[in-house]
């Protein structure tokens, strides 16, 4: 069968199924059918059947969701002429339809994610292409940049075929001549320090006259001053693993139209939710769903897009669009959609090859998400993916899915407040009896859970998506409206990532969460009152009240997220097993081994005693780096000493003095990307709906208490009001 013919048959079968699904059968008929399909879905899930069985599960789910959508559309909207019911009813309806549309779009995207690309090496006899490595920076500090530059310099690639560029936007000519003499001096100092660092590490330093077009402009300045065939981009806080270029460059040789090889962002530190809820070690991170399955799904449709960092791009392709696009504040995705629409291809390599940092505080997390949401809205407005010329149909759907996703704050807030219409205002925004609600809405919700779990279960626990959406929605909603009001207004704000939470406190953005929580509590009280006072409509009240309680659980959990736990920067440790030597008090080298490393320090075990060393001493250690480095000695400082039987473990802090010290640190932390992958896959376990729900409830209960406790301890005076 040819492709067109298969498509035609598929279309006909789909039409037939839709006709079948929209037959207005009785409630009982729907219930029996839905129960049987749901049972089959659960069986497929329990038996972990893959391949076509997974497809069948999704088809069953699609049918029930379609039936829900049909019923919701035809039977539940309040009458048009009762505007007080109709308008909120319509808004709720549209929110639900948005969710259903997004479900189907994401179903399309991840229907069959690409398996891992087989990694290849460059052919021996062919010339090795030249690569420029761009590390744009704006305000990141010296230490961080030193680490990243050092890691980039250590890449496993012929020395003469790649150049590392530090693109410094923090000390442009304009900044160094700032009217404010303090600022000017600061920029000048930065300028000199970084120039010095680059010289020590063998990198090129580049800055420009003015900060035009933010990150895109900075990168384009890099393009204008370099000549390499390919361009790798790393954010200042994204240190590449040694094999980054080995894993990415060979793909370009196989496809002349390839413009992008994107790799995942892997983070060494937890985001505020993971940190405050203490789920970092056990639960898959938020971004793992995107990099673990969505990008792979997009890759099938040749729609994997550039994520701003950890990617390799073809200069020739970038030249066709005059470099990186800078209209929106998410230049990465915008560049990708432009190049895709010109017939260039992209590839996504699902192997963590950079390790980075993500925002530590809730406020900077929200700042980062605001930029993403606003940028994606700008792309939606400027490029409108569904009708973007040059894209394939599949790419249009993919980009529509990626951009429309960021509208989630709207439905999330609508779902949050919808129960209030009934509980407080007595509006009937959803006309259905308790039985209908059970037969249609309940099966839909369960089917939705099963489908989401089947698609994303390994990368996302149940209800965690809802939690992430909720904590972002409260502040993102306004940001979305501001884009719609003035699409050109949002400006690029660099996300701060090297902060630390020195003491436990409430986030400065916490106040609305407590207010919402209070409202939800009032709604619970109202529910109880209504059940008592109006027993004749207790059924409906209980349904709506149950929905409100779900919101309350979510909001309670969010209180924990905005209650910032104390944690100093750099304490996330990675277990390693490498040998090392420490110079003892007597000047002799003592053998030991590295227990774990972090971005701030390293733990060293000496099996045969302390060798005369102790707390508070500066010492020198050395180890065999993976990269070819001449000087392998590094100064560290002993912060703690723990005895372990005969041996002793020193907790040491790095005391880097010169550039090559940073390369040693980078070699410790970033050298082995296999380590990161192991860490990720340890977390990527589908714990199932039931266990996931139970765990979520447990977390929510605890975090609600913690959130309220923080309010009592830190809420008065400053805290939330800051």
């Amino acid at each position: 069968m040819s492709k067109a013919f298969t498509l035609l048959i598929w279309f006909l079968v789909s039409v037939l199924v839709v006709v079948l699904v929209t037959i207005p059968v009785s409630l009982q008929t729907h219930l029996v059918m839905a129960a049987i399909l749901l049972g089959a879905m659960m069986l497929i899930k329990l038996l972990r059947l893959e391949g076509n069985w997974r497809l069948l599960l999704l088809t069953f789910g699609t049918i029930i969701v379609l039936r829900y959508a049909y019923w919701r559309t035809t039977s539940t909207l309040p009458p048009f002429d009762q505007w007080a019911d109709f308008i909120p009813g319509l808004i709720l309806y549209l929110a639900e339809m948005y969710c259903i549309m997004m479900l189907f779009l994401s179903l399309f995207v991840v229907i069959r994610p690409m398996p891992k690309h087989v990694s290849t090496r460059l052919p021996k006899d062919e010339p090795v292409p030249t690569v420029d490595i761009f590390i744009p920076t704006y305000n990141e500090d010296y230490e961080l940049l030193a680490g990243t530059l050092a890691a980039a310099r250590s890449l496993d690639y012929p020395e003469d075929r790649f150049t590392v560029w530090l693109l410094d936007d923090g000390s442009t000519d304009a900044k160094r001549n700032d009217p404010d003499p303090d600022k000017a001096a600061e920029a000048q100092e930065r300028h000199e320090q970084l120039q010095q660092l680059c010289a020590e590490l063998g990198c090129r330093y580049l800055t420009r006259a003015r900060n035009e077009h933010a990150k895109a402009g900075n990168l384009n300045n890099g393009i204008a001053n370099s000549t390499g065939e390919y361009i790798a981009v790393f954010d200042a806080d994204h240190a590449p693993a040694r094999d980054f270029l080995q894993e990415t460059v060979p793909f370009f040789g196989r496809d002349n139209q390839l413009f992008l090889v994107q790799t995942p962002h892997f983070f060494l530190n937890p985001d505020p939710l993971e940190r405050n809820l203490r789920t970092f070690e056990v639960m898959p991170s938020e971004n793992e769903m995107f990099y673990g399955v969505i990008q792979r799904g997009l890759d099938r449709w040749n729609a994997a897009f550039f994520c701003g960092s950890a990617a390799l791009l073809r200069r020739e392709a970038l030249m066709t669009t005059n470099g990186f696009s800078g209209r929106s504040i998410t230049e990465d995705c915008e560049t990708a959609i432009e190049l895709h629409s010109r017939g260039w291809n992209s590839i996504y390599v699902d192997k963590p090859l950079v390790a980075g940092l993500q925002p530590v505080t809730f406020a900077s997390f929200i700042g980062q998400r605001t930029r993403w949401a606003q940028g994606m809205m700008q792309i939606l407005l400027f490029s409108f993916p569904p009708f973007k010329r040059g894209l394939t149909m599949a790419q249009r759907l993919c980009y529509t899915s990626s951009t429309l996703f960021w509208l989630f704050p709207l439905p999330r807030m609508i779902f949050l407040f919808a129960p209030f219409f009934y509980l407080f205002l007595d509006l009937q925004v959803f006309t259905a009896s308790g039985g209908e609600f059970a037969a249609y809405t309940l099966t839909y919700v369960v089917v939705n859970l099963v489908m989401q779990n089947s698609l994303f279960g390994r990368w996302r626990w149940p209800w965690i998506s809802e939690l992430y959406e909720y904590i972002q929605s409260v502040h993102l909603l306004g940001a979305l409206f501001s884009v719609v009001r003035n699409p050109y207004k949002p400006s690029f704000k660099v996300t701060a990532k090297d902060e630390s939470v020195e003491s436990s406190r409430l986030s400065e953005l916490a106040r609305p969460f407590y207010l919402i929580f209070l409202l939800l509590i009032l709604a619970v009280v109202m529910t109880i009152y209504k059940i008592g006072a109006q027993p004749y409509q207790a059924e409906v009240t209980m349904v709506v009240g149950g929905w409100n309680i779900f919101n309350l659980i979510l909001a309670g959990c969010a209180l924990g997220v905005v209650s910032e736990r104390r944690e100093s920067w750099g304490t996330r440790r990675v277990t390693v097993e490498r040998r090392c030597e420490v110079r003892g008090a007597d000047g002799e080298w003592v053998r030991g081994n590295l227990v774990n490393v972090s971005s701030g320090g390293v733990a060293i075990r000496l099996p045969n005693g302390a060798a005369g060393l102790g707390r508070g001493m500066p010492i020198t250690m050395r180890f065999a780096p993976l990269a070819n480095l001449e000087n392998t000695e590094m100064p560290v400082f002993i912060r703690s000493v723990t005895t372990e039987g005969k041996g002793v473990v020193f907790g040491c802090r790095y005391m880097p003095e010169r550039g090559h010290h940073y390369r040693l640190i980078a070699d410790l932390i970033y050298a082995n990307s296999g380590n990161w992958q192991a860490r990720q896959s340890a977390r990527q376990v589908n714990i199932g709906i039931v266990q996931g729900t139970v765990r979520f409830l447990g977390i929510a209960l605890y975090q609600t208490g913690r959130g309220l406790g923080y309010l009592l301890r830190f809420g008065s005076g400053r805290g939330a009001g800051q």
């Binding site: 037939l16 699904v21 059968v25 076509n52 040749n302 409509q537």
Partner: protein, 747 residues
């Protein structure tokens, strides 16, 4: 939902009610106040009456009124109307209305009233105070109140309990008017005479509420003559407009006039008896349909002509002069509109006035008609858009209940405790109990109020208005599927389907005249229910085509063995056969018991799921053994395609007496399923639903109708719906899997 404007209207209601709700003073309408001397008023209209002074003892003529043995007014607000057809002369004559009534002891006279209206004019209003013995009432009808043709006489009772203020107590309230005592009494000579065919409706009913057609005929053994007789019975039935028409085949004309009796002389001209010899010359020349005066004074209709063909044409002339359209039936004074899919009808168009109510339980019956191919009872919902308001006195727990054909279909609580308006409130009512033909919807409002909980002395009658129902409220039907499930006797008894207006229908009759009379009654009853006639063609039972629709009316023992096997009735019960049949029936009808019944009961109660809807294969339609002496109707879809309806009993006489009982409206409306049987000493029919059902449509199958038919069919065959979905899903999965190997990046 809180709208200031509505609240203020409720407030107004509360303010006004003390004034409105004053108990009607029981001295307000002494009957004398309404009685006027009839003579002077009637004289100017009466063209026949000369200006001679009235004779001292003018002859009186009385006509029974009720198309039923009794008229019962139950509940706090009750209304029953009847239609009475009058001739020109009757309408013009001085008349009085006489009836007697008896009421329940608990009806409080000072708070209750019985009102009578003729054609919307109130002619009498009195306290209901006749609990010990029937009271006779005689009311002069004001001149001009009656008119020729149909007149609606409306009895309305407003009844309040003496002591109780509960909803339950309202069930004890009743007033009964026996048919034997309710009549119109006219003054004048020869008023019983019906001179024209168009006045045939004035034949009316006898004191039992029945009408009798006495057929004097000759040559009825002939098949062609029988076909004509069957047709004419229907035409006369439609002309008379009475629901219950008994047909007797007699040898001689009546000896005297009796109300509710029509003599029909039905024969070729050359056989006409001497008493109607005057008609002979005209009938010898051409078809003739006329009321012929006879010496006895009995109303005599002559349908004649040179031969039976022309008699059939005479019948058509009769049908043209007294058509069914636009002439209400005696027992249906309110409009019964036909409701098409997507149509709505206001309560006003169903005959309801605006309601202001101060009692506890208000109930009103409304009727509408559905086409014979209404096929939406398993899935759809009809909508009642309610325009109503209630006072702040009303407590939660009050309810609006809708019954459809006697089955509870929806219960809507009144939600607000502070009084409110149900403005454009939509009540969705499952169509489960709707059926083709005439449907009865009962809207009831049960009001719990704060003041009723106290229930002071005399409060039942003096409470202020607490509920207002606007007759702008409306019923609306969704687009429903158009198809007919066969067999279903109900569709035939209500709509004449599939026989009416469908060309000649073969029918086989028993040998005796009583079979013919039964067939005539049966056919006439179908006609009066549906307003349509069936064109019968009588033939020997051996000639009935199994591939075509047909009917059989004959005693069981005369059914040929072949036909007996086609009608699903055990015709010759041997002792063992009957026992086996009974056993089978018992088994077939019994509910499952034991642990399974818990599951099935739960499914039915909690989810509304019938286990029979889940079956994969239909059961078998076993032959039925009727109880001894019963009259049985069966409908069987022949494997060749014909729909055969059979009316049978053990003997000719059992057939006739059984049919006479069967055509009583209460029993007639019970006929349903594939078999319905009425035992001699029972008022309840035994009905058997078909296991195997075929779907028939009228030929045109639009995709939309097909979809709705599928919805109804799947809703009764749930497993098949699930299988269809599963099949669709697997197909879609396979083609998607195949498509996925064709599109997108491959590895």
């Amino acid at each position: 939902m809180i709208k200031p404007a509505l609240l203020s209207s409720v407030a107004l209601l509360v303010v006004l009610t003390p004034a409105l709700g004053q108990p009607a003073p029981f001295d307000m309408s002494p009957e004398s106040g309404l009685v006027r001397p009839a003579e002077p008023d009637t004289q100017p209209d009466a063209t026949t009456a000369p200006d001679t002074p009235a004779p001292p003892a003018e002859p009186e003529f009385s006509r029974p009124l009720l198309p039923a043995p009794t008229l019962r007014l139950a509940g706090e607000e009750a209304r029953q109307g009847v239609v009475v057809y009058l001739t020109e002369q009757q309408a013009a004559a001085a008349a009085r209305l006489e009836f007697s009534y008896l009421n329940a002891l608990v009806v409080a006279p000072e708070a209750s009233s019985l009102r009578v209206r003729i054609n919307q004019t109130e002619i009498d209003s009195r306290p209901i105070a006749s609990s010990s013995a029937p009271s006779l009432v005689s009311v002069e009808v004001p001149a001009g109140a009656l008119r020729a043709g149909p007149n609606v006489i409306d009895f309305r009772a407003s009844q309040r309990h003496r002591t109780d203020c509960t909803v339950e107590s309202t069930y004890q309230l009743w007033t009964e008017i026996p048919g034997s005592e309710a009549r119109l009494v006219f003054s004048g000579d020869q008023l019983e005479r019906i001179g024209q065919l168009s006045e045939l409706g004035a034949v009316g009913v006898d004191s039992d509420g029945q009408t009798t057609l006495r057929v004097v005929s000759a040559g009825l053994a002939d098949a062609a003559a029988q076909s004509v007789a069957l047709e004419i019975a229907q035409q006369v039935g439609l002309a008379l407009r009475t629901p219950h028409l008994t047909v007797t085949l007699v040898d001689a004309l009546s000896e005297t006039y009796e109300s509710g009796v029509l003599d029909l002389v039905l024969m070729p001209a050359d056989a006409l008896p001497d008493s109607v010899a005057a008609a002979r010359p005209q009938a010898s020349a051409a078809p003739m349909a006329a009321m012929v005066p006879v010496t006895s004074g009995a109303n005599t209709l002559v349908l004649s002509g040179p031969d039976w063909n022309s008699i059939a044409r005479a019948g058509d002339a009769l049908a043209a002069s007294a058509p069914a359209d636009g002439r209400p039936r005696y027992d249906l004074p309110l409009p019964v509109p036909m409701m098409a899919g997507g149509q709505s009808a206001s309560l006003a168009s169903l005959g309801l006035d605006r309601v202001e109510f101060n009692g506890r339980r208000y109930a009103v019956d409304l009727q509408f008609e559905l086409p014979s191919d209404f096929y939406g009872y398993r899935y759809g919902e009809l909508n009642l858009r309610l325009d109503a308001a209630y006072a702040s006195d009303v407590l939660p727990g009050s309810e609006i209940d809708i019954y459809i054909n006697g089955e509870i279909a929806s219960a809507t609580p009144l939600l607000r405790t502070d009084g409110g308006a149900l403005d454009d409130t939509n009540i969705r009512i499952p169509m489960t109990s709707l059926r083709p033909g005439r449907n009865e919807a009962t809207v009831t409002v049960n009001l719990q109020t704060r003041s009723d909980a106290v229930c002071g002395a005399g409060w039942t009658g003096s409470a202020p208005t607490r509920f207002i129902l606007s007759n702008a409220s409306s019923f609306s039907l969704p687009d429903y599927a158009r198809a007919t499930a066969v067999p279903d006797l109900l569709v035939m008894t209500g709509s004449g389907w599939p026989y009416a207006d469908a060309g000649a229908v073969p029918i086989a009759l028993g040998q005796g005249m009583e079979s013919l009379a039964s067939a005539m009654m049966f056919a006439a009853r179908i006609a009066t229910a549906s307003g349509r006639t069936i064109d019968f063609s009588v033939m020997p039972q051996a000639d009935l085509p199994p591939e075509g629709n047909a009917m059989l009316v004959m005693p069981m023992d005369t059914l040929s063995p072949l036909n007996a096997s086609r009608v699903d009735i055990v015709t010759a019960p041997s002792a063992t056969g009957a026992a086996a049949g009974d056993l089978r029936n018992q088994f077939g009808n019994s509910e499952p018991t034991g642990p399974i019944s818990y599951v099935t009961d739960w499914l039915r109660d909690a989810v509304g799921l019938e286990v029979s809807d889940l079956r994969l294969w239909p059961g078998t339609d076993a032959d039925y053994t009727p109880p001894p002496g019963a009259v049985t109707v069966s409908q069987v879809l022949q494997s060749e395609g014909g729909v055969w309806t059979t009316l049978t009993a053990a003997s000719e006489s059992a057939l006739r007496t059984g049919t006479e009982r069967l055509i009583d409206t209460d029993k007639w409306r019970q006929i349903t399923g594939r078999i319905s049987a009425l035992a001699p000493n029972s008022d309840t029919l035994t009905t058997i639903a078909p296991q195997n059902v075929a779907i028939r449509t009228d030929g045109t199958l639009s995709p939309l109708n097909l979809r709705l038919i599928a919805a109804n069919w799947f809703s009764g065959n749930i497993v098949y719906f699930t299988l269809a979905i599963l099949l669709g899903a697997v197909t879609l999965m396979l083609i998607t899997a195949r498509l996925l190997t064709r599109i997108g990046r491959r590895h």
